[in-house]
Each structure stands twice: as structure tokens, then as C-alpha cells.
Amino acid sequence: MPVLFCRRHLLAALSSLMLSAAPASAQNEAPVIAAASDLQFAVTEIAAAFTAETGHEVRLSFGSTGNFATQIREGAPFQMFMAADQKFIADLHAEGLTRDEGVLYAEGRLALMAPKGSALQPDAALDNLAALLEAGTLTRFAIANPEHAPYGLRAQEALQHRGLWEEIKPFLILGENVSQTAQFALSGNAEGGIVALSLALAPEVAAQGDHALIPADWHAPLMQRMVLLRDAGPAAEAFYAYVQQPKAREIMVRYGFVLPDEG
């Protein structure tokens, strides 16, 4: 009896396998776009508008620009890459992994953000942050990992410019990308953090705290460049063009991005 029982189970398992094997390959049509996580809300909205207008689907993958660059070198099947810092695009281009040098699509800005009820009151000059540090009441402060996340590196530069870097170091918690950083900053387990303005302006995030825009000349500019990768198909090409058109640009502006003048 047990043998029969076992065999029946094996059959059931195998047949369910046959049935389930199909869908994975059927949906491989839509190109995968790797996008820096500061684009989490803006590009999701642009993609929805793109699909509504053209009928093309794209699949979005958000993460840290540095990690995506590494994955593209290892052969990740992305068709388009929207980086938070153009340096990464230049490197990939030099290695022959992109179709061309790409195009500048936005300039990103930093925001100091604190959750509702935090001891930190965000101000553009970071005076309140400095006061908390002075008083010894800061417990945790979130920035993205400067090693591979452009927004982290720029946050470090801004803190260095303000002369707070050495003092604030022991209190830092590092997000894997700027989106996770916003999550950390607003979780209530930190006084706040430095995030992308584009995240601070998203309704889901804005409802959870207050923010202040950090002066652009406190850090090197976040020149955000995008590029088509070598295997890009027609749908990725269409999306690449769409991001540069007025409808998409209007969405980018709404999320606080500064747009380049050249199309």
C-alpha cells in the first residue's frame, strides 16, 4: 500500500510540474528595465502611462545603481538602464556593454527627511541636525550606502560640506539603496535621514514625515543618465523615447527632478 501511495504522489507532483512550467516562458516578452530606486514612484507612473498609450508592457526592477551596473557586467538580461549617476553609464559604455553613451534624463536632488513626531525638524541648512548631534540626542540617522548608491555618496558629500560627517558617522545606518534608506529614515527607529527628493514628494512617503531640500551646491550634481543595453528590443526603444517626451517629463518634474534642456 505505501508504495502505491508514494507513486500516486509522485505522479501528482510531476503532472503539476508539467502544468506549471508553461507560464514562466510565456511572459518573457516584456523588456526588463533596471531603474535606480529614486525612480520607484516616478517611473512606475511613467510606465503606466506608456502602457496605456502604446499597449507595450515593460517590467521594472528597482535597486541600487552600483548593484545594477555589476549585474549588467555579469550578463543580467536588462534592456535599458536608468542610473542615478552617469558615471556608471560611462563605465558600462567604455566596456562596450551599451548601445551608445545614453542620454541625460534628469538631475536628482537630496532631501533631509524626518518622520512625524521625530525630535528632528528638517531645515535646509541642517542646523537642527547639528543641534541634535551637539546635544547628544541623535540615536540613528539613515543614508544610502555610499559605496555603491549614488544618493549615499552625495549625502556623504553634503554632510562633509556642512562639517557634520565625522560626528554623525557613529549614528549612521546604511540603506542598500535610497528607497530602503527612506524606509529606515521613516520607520520611527531613527530621527531621520537623507533621501531622494523624488521619494520625499511621493504621496505614500510624504504622508509619513516632513522634508527640507538640501542646497544643490553642497554636493556634486546627481546627473541621471539612461541608456539602452545591447539586447534592447523595440518595446525598450519605445520606452526610452517616451521618457524624453513631454508627458513623461511632466511626471518627472512633479517628483522634484530638474530636467536637462536638451531632449
Binding site: A13, A24, E74
Partner: protein
Amino acid sequence: MDWTSLTLSLELAAWTVAILLPVSVLGGRWLAYGRFRAKGAVEALVMLPLVLPPTVFGFYLLLAFGRNSPVGAFWQETFGHQLVFTFEGLVVASVIFNLPFAIQPAQRGFEAIAVDLREAAATCGMSPWRSLWKVELPLAWPGLMTAMVLTFAQTLGEFGIVLMGGGSIPGETKTVAIAIYDRVQGFDMQGAGIMSAALVAISFSAIAITYGLSARVGRRLA
């Protein structure tokens, strides 16, 4: 609720179980009955994925199967696409990572079979193959079942490896564990909560059913 990710995770778990079932029977039996000098080393090697941090494991897999490695290059030539960052790549990683969960309980299952019984089967003129089907599997199957359920549940929850060598591609490498991580980062706590609860329910049911079945079989045999 992200059904694509949940389906993908279930598919990954099903493939892993299907590939590891014969491995668990043959490998577990070999380790249970075999007497050879390197046995300790083989057992240690099988258990290694259990103690290694998944990130270390994922890092080595990326090196071993990346486009610059011999395996990665062979895969590219044979199938015309990359192994890492694909569903097939996740299956390969998952199979290796689950070896301890698949082999260990099976080995214990075979070890529990009395030597007399196997000798009796051989004396009756049964071939090793026939003895496996008629005598050993009916006795060892609770161990095998445990092995497969552990593998299935473990694959559903796998995170570190998929994060290192997956790329979070919807419908290809974005498993439910990654989807939950992405939802949290996208400030969608409700979505993350629903998917987490679904994962807890599926894993709990799988293990509860196994224990229930094992208990029933235990009573019947006693």
C-alpha cells in the same frame, strides 16, 4: 497580492523538489549503507550549504556560473542565453543549496532500516532495484517525505541567494521573498503584509500535513 511572484516561487520549489527527489533517494541510500574512507568528507560537503551564509553562497555561484566562468560560457553556447539572472539559474542554485535538506532526512530514513531486512530481501533473490522498490522505499518514505517538504518550504523562503544572483526580474527571478522586500521598500506595507501572511500559511500547512501523515503511518506500522 503579487500572484506572479507567488506562482514563480511555487514553480521554483516544485522544480527543486522534482530534481532533488531522485538525488535524495540515491544519495541518502548511498550515504546510509556505504562504508568508505571519505564518507565524513562527503557528508560535510553535503551539509556545507546549511552553515554558509546565503550571501557567501550567492557570491560563489555568481563567480562559478557568471558569463566569464567555464560553466556560464558552456550554458551560453548550448542554450543561447545567460545562466545567472534567469529562472534556470535560480533552479540550479536552489538545487545545490537544498542538498542538505534533501539528503540528510533521507539518509536517516534508510539508516533506520534493519540490516536483517535487506539481507532477507537479498536472500530471497531480490535485485537491489527490486529491494529498493518493495522493501526499502516503503520503510524509508517518511524520511523522504520530510526531505521533500523541507526542501519545498526552504525554497519558498530563499532570499539571500536570489538577491545576489537573481536581479528581481518580474516573472523570471522575482520570487515572493524578493517581492516582499521590494514592497517594503516601495512603502506598500499592506502588500508586504498580505504576501508574508500567505507565505506563513503555505509553509505551515506543508509542514503540518507532513507531520500529520507521518504520525498516521507511524501508528499503522506499530
